[in-house]
Symmetry: C2
Subunit: 283 residues, 2 copies
């Protein structure tokens, strides 16, 4: 049902393979981006493309396709998903997640970049369980900061290494902090609410497209502050939440042993999730 593109070919994802001299496999040299379609249209396409291009440039990888060429492939893959969903007797087209992966490509000497490999994959969207929106999630603090956090490299070793610690704490994710300064969760951004103020870290973060969207949606109702967020800021926060393309606006009610606000999902988080849902429903 899910298809992908690699080197001029569109095929079922389970048929797509990469040769073993690719620098992502040999040297962890790769970057990616990830977005959803809503009503069959790529959400915030211009912003995602810009970020993808920026990551590529920061990692000295030349994109093998232009924006328009890439968009044409994206829409071809959307059409394939729709065909598959019609075949399965579904009345409405299904939305999909897109994962773009750009690697250092095949390397003869196992270290030098020759020609980057670009993969464009569609994937099933894994929605966050409704109970997490109702109760909020728990995260645990981790003394870590992502190297080149603003580049969406494929380096997610840390959260995979910490999987057992997260499970043991009955938490959902890590909240990275270094020297008392909070940056982000393992795959999403971080916000706190204090009164009418919406506060989010501005350094050592991936510049999330959902983060940017939420900041826009919040402009008329909040005083938005992009600035350093310290661990001490958690103690008098009314609410906290995290944003990502799949998580949308997901409340955080506990950080380690610390309860945020009154421990329940707050009205500001709910309000912003509603605004976000309205936006994507009419996308």
């Amino acid at each position: 049902m899910y298809h992908g593109y690699f080197n001029g070919t569109i095929a079922s994802t389970d048929q797509l393979t990469v040769g073993v001299t690719d620098l992502s496999l040999l040297r962890g040299y790769g970057l990616f981006d990830y977005f959803l379609t809503y009503n069959g249209r790529p959400f915030q396409w211009d912003w995602y493309w810009e970020r993808f291009q920026n990551s590529a440039s920061r990692m000295h990888l030349r994109l093998p396709l232009s924006k328009d060429e890439t968009y044409a492939i994206v829409m071809k893959l959307v059409e394939r998903s729709n065909e598959a969903s019609r075949k399965n007797g579904l009345a409405t087209p299904i939305d999909v997640a897109f994962r773009f992966i750009l690697t250092g490509g095949y390397s003869a000497d196992s270290i030098s970049i020759e020609k980057p490999n670009l993969l464009i994959l569609t994937e099933m969207i894994h929605p966050v369980p409704a109970v997490q929106y109702e109760q909020g999630i728990k995260v645990i603090l981790d003394d870590y900061v992502r190297d080149m956090a603003e580049v969406k490299s494929t380096d997610y070793k840390r959260v995979i290494l910490m999987a057992e610690a997260i499970r043991a704490a009955r938490a959902s994710d890590l909240l990275y902090q270094k020297g008392g300064e909070i940056s982000e969760l393992s795959r999403s951004n971080f916000f706190i609410v204090k009164g009418e103020r919406l506060i989010t870290p501005d350094k050592h973060i991936l510049h999330g497209i959902t983060r940017k969207t939420v900041i826009q949606l919040a402009q008329s109702d909040f005083q938005v502050e992009e600035r350093s967020v310290l661990l001490s800021d958690l103690y008098d926060a009314d609410e906290a939440f995290t944003t990502s393309s799949t998580k949308k606006v997901l409340p955080i009610t506990q950080v380690g042993e610390l309860t945020i606000g009154n421990g329940h999902v707050g009205p500001k988080s709910k309000f912003l999730l509603e605004r976000f849902d309205e936006l994507v429903q009419s996308w």
Copy 2:
């Protein structure tokens, strides 16, 4: 000519491929090891296996094969290389490099480890040009320390990112230092010689098998010190060199703008290279 093993199959390396849901591709989650054969025998096999196993354990990946099973595959691949070299009319078997790669494996949700993938590849050995042994190499300092340096993860983003800076400085590699403390080169260990003392960093390093071999070879002629090595140690060092399986004992005569000793390859480095060459020739 070069073959590899993946999931029960031995095939020509250019025929081996990995599916696109592998966590090395999606999340940079992989580790490896790398060693050479001498006279058709894997050099220091026991030590390499121990290190590979240790890396796997540190990254919570279960090895799908035992040491004996792996050794049997290694020797089968050595035999394949010999067959190929006979077919090409070569009288003596060629030695090869082995690269073991263990990844997080295919992941349905793009983040959870299910079953690791193990690749065993043979590769051509790229020997260091003779001129580098005669004149020594230049390295440039880089303000960096590898995360979990003692684990041979596939994370070599840094040196690929810095390739242009290395070229621009007409250097061969990076020498990592953080806060004035030297750890290692991008893919090899670091030693300095002061009089009869052989000094090498002991922290934030990959525990090189060539490093360990050289320390053994040096025992009777040097006072070996495994300890912190500071930038200031470079100023009164007589000699410096780097060790790795392909570099063996490779002299370093320049660090950035600083000349080491008299700028020529020193007698102690030559002595240790000779001892190393004797060892591998009779392996």
